[in-house]
């Protein structure tokens, strides 16, 4: 099984003619992801990587029956790109772009909700169902097909964790990078539920960090609804309050959102919390 993406994914790249869009489109295609087209306003009618480029997402969906889109559009225009995808009938929208004004994301998220589509990101590395499909910017070669579901707020930290999993013979069902912004699409609880229902997934790794209270909410959710074993890691135990640690969402405000609170809540819910990333595989076994 796996969640959200698999062999039935038909992907378009919004911003396929840009440097990053083009580079990663090629990587995804060579992984075996079914890339069916791309968009770039004004460049409709041309082709990149053997697939057609369209002016609008509407044209792309009509011609290619795309159901998934990945967005590499620059920050000032990215929220608009999310809304275009949702309005054109794309079901799963993955936004890689970093630095989108938060209020733009609030609006785009609400719009995606109204269109009953699903948003991942922004400011995320995307997702991978190893052996089947890669939609994102993750380095393909570190993943291995298997039964661990990975849900994360981070990028390279996820790679680090996946790398340890793979080296220890623990393959992954689906790995999802949710994004490091304060407001993003799918989050821990929705993804935990999907992993719980997914037949391929036997256990779950969640990688959280300081800021907000999503990990605390996830802990409560796990206690109530999740039967599969969950192992967690929380980054930012040494982060000073009031400082934004790289991710716009990673900030401890007025004493809340600390790593200590998150770890306590997770442990209280029966989740094993790793002290360092390399400890995760042994906690899963």
């Amino acid at each position: 099984m796996s969640i959200l993406i698999d062999q039935s994914t038909r992907l378009i790249v919004q911003g396929i003619t840009g440097r990053d869009g083009n580079f990663h489109a090629q990587k995804m295609q060579s992984y075996g992801t079914r890339l069916v087209g791309g968009t770039s306003p004004g460049k409709g009618g041309s082709a990149r990587l053997g697939v057609p480029v369209f002016n609008t997402v509407y044209d792309a969906v009509e011609a290619t029956e795309a159901n998934t889109s990945i967005i590499f559009v620059p920050a000032p225009y990215a929220a608009d790109a999310i809304m275009e995808a949702a309005d054109a009938g794309i079901r799963l929208i993955v936004c890689i772009t970093e630095g989108i004004p938060t209020l733009d994301v609030v609006k785009a998220y609400r719009f995606v909700q109204m269109k009953q589509a699903t948003l991942i990101g922004p400011n995320c590395p995307g997702l991978v169902s190893p052996g089947k499909c890669l939609v994102g910017i993750s380095p393909a070669q570190i993943f291995m097909q298997g039964n661990v579901g990975v849900i994360s707020r981070s990028g390279t930290l996820t790679y680090e964790v996946v790398y340890h999993l793979t080296r220890n013979g623990l393959g992954q069902s689906t790995t999802v990078g949710m994004g490091g912004d304060p407001v993003t699409g799918l989050y821990f609880n929705e993804l935990l539920q999907m992993m719980e229902e997914d037949e391929q997934t036997d256990s779950i790794v969640m990688i959280g960090e300081i800021g907000g209270n999503a990990e605390e909410l996830a802990a409560a959710y796990i206690k109530k609804h999740i039967t599969k074993p969950v192992v967690a890691f929380i980054a930012g135990q040494t982060a000073p309050p009031g400082k934004q640690m790289g991710h716009a969402g990673a900030i401890i405000s007025s004493g809340s959102g600390t790593a200590r609170e998150k770890i306590a809540a997770l442990e209280e819910a029966g989740v094993k919390v790793a002290r360092e990333p390399s400890e995760i595989p042994s906690l899963l076994l």
């Binding site: 993750s138 304060p182 407001v183 980054a235 000073p240 991710h247």
Partner: protein
């Protein structure tokens, strides 16, 4: 991004939200003449610093004559509040307070929307209210496509008041504050307290606003209001080069690709008994020029005794990262020990390239951290003997 109370009040005022008269002063004698200009008996002097807890620190004082104004101003201007020296204050009319309320807009991560928060418990620390008596705080998510039409503003205003005059006044304030919040890309707009005077008028007696970093590019008018500390300036310079940098007080400099991994690297340093000198995320790639810039940033600080470079080679393979590091360090003059930990694609090749060079090469994060912490301890022993 924070601004001062007086700046927030100026923004409020430009959106038609009632605030008391205020005069900004830098010296006690300016405060005395401000007192004269206001022409009222009682005034409040308020320190203008970019941090909370001014009241507790003695930064807000009442005064009832010129002599008192002078003395209070002297006291306030000699304060340092949470590391921020007080350089200016405002003199405002003391409001004739009948009741105090709390009103704010914030971006809520969980509902993924802007929410309006209101409480009849104004004038005190709202986080305490939220913790101890959460039922006293009302919060309403705002649909970005609907905003705050009259009927909603009125509905919320009825929570505080019965008199239609006050309901309409509050509804107007709620709508104006929402418009200000949206049009300036704020992530907080707070009135605490919103005061009802004994004659029934509403007045924002305090004002607090913070803004979204991601929207800086389209809000030059807010950018112009910012007063950055030296550390914030360094952080912004770093950002312009594609880095995220946060200053810390330790002596182990770190350079990492990716924010989550960078945070974990700091955590590991602490876990192994060391102190990180900074948080530094150099972003996805690790090109030589980037490494050179990042090293300059780290070596700018005299307390850095060792640098820990932790790179996950994903899209950029480890052997390329190693070549890049060797290239970069031809242009960097320093004797500081550099521990490098490379993991990911082609890691063995990468590490082999760095063997027998100026770098101390580690395989795992734990090993690298241990090496860095050890280096500092050895240094300290040397300087002690």
């Amino acid at each position: 991004m924070k601004i001062h109370e007086y700046q927030s009040k100026e923004l409020f005022s430009s959106y038609g939200i009632p605030v008391g008269r205020q005069i900004l002063c830098y010296t006690p004698s300016e405060a005395v003449s401000a007192y004269g200009k206001l022409g009222v008996l009682k005034v409040v002097l308020k320190a203008q610093v970019l941090t909370g807890g001014r009241g507790k620190a003695g930064g807000v004082k009442l005064a009832g004559n010129a002599e008192e104004v002078k003395r209070r101003a002297e006291d306030i201007l000699s304060l340092t509040i949470k590391g921020f020296p007080v350089k200016k204050l405002i003199v405002t009319e003391a409001a004739d307070i009948a009741a105090e309320y709390y009103v704010s807009y914030i971006i809520d991560r969980n509902s993924k929307s802007v929410i309006l928060m209101m409480s009849r418990e104004g004038g005190i620390d709202i986080e305490t209210v939220a913790r101890e008596t959460p039922e006293k705080i009302h919060s309403f998510p705002i649909d970005p496509f609907i905003g705050l039409p009259d009927y909603l503003a009125r509905r919320y205003a009825f929570l505080f008041f019965d008199s239609m005059e006050q309901v309409n006044a509050l509804a107007g304030i709620l709508q104006k504050l929402y418009r200000l919040f949206m049009e300036k890309d704020a992530n907080l707009a707070e009135i605490n307290p919103l005061v009802a005077t004994s004659s029934g008028e509403l007045l924002a007696v305090d004002a607090k606003m913070t803004f979204d970093d991601n929207a800086r590019y389209r809000r030059p008018e807010i950018e112009a209001l910012l007063e950055l500390t030296k550390e914030e300036k360094t952080e912004i310079r770093a950002k312009e080069k594609g880095f995220s940098y946060v200053h810390m007080d330790g002596n182990i400099g770190c350079m990492v690709n990716g924010a989550g991994l960078a945070m974990s690297t700091m955590d590991m340093i602490k876990l192994y008994g060391g102190e990180p000198a900074n948080f530094l995320d150099i972003g996805g790639s690790s090109k030589p020029e980037k490494v050179v810039d990042a090293m300059k940033l780290l070596l700018d600080k005299t307390q850095v005794q060792v640098v820990l470079i932790n790179i996950f080679g994903g899209i950029t393979r480890c052997d390329d990262v190693a070549i890049g590091l060797l290239e970069a360090f031809k242009k960097i003059e320093t004797n500081i020990p550099i521990v490098v930990r490379l993991t990911g694609t082609n890691e063995e090749e990468g590490r082999r390239l760095l063997e027998n060079t100026r770098f101390l090469v580690a395989e795992s994060m734990s090993e690298a951290t241990r090496m860095a912490v050890q280096t500092v301890k050895t240094n300290e022993k040397h300087s002690a003997s």
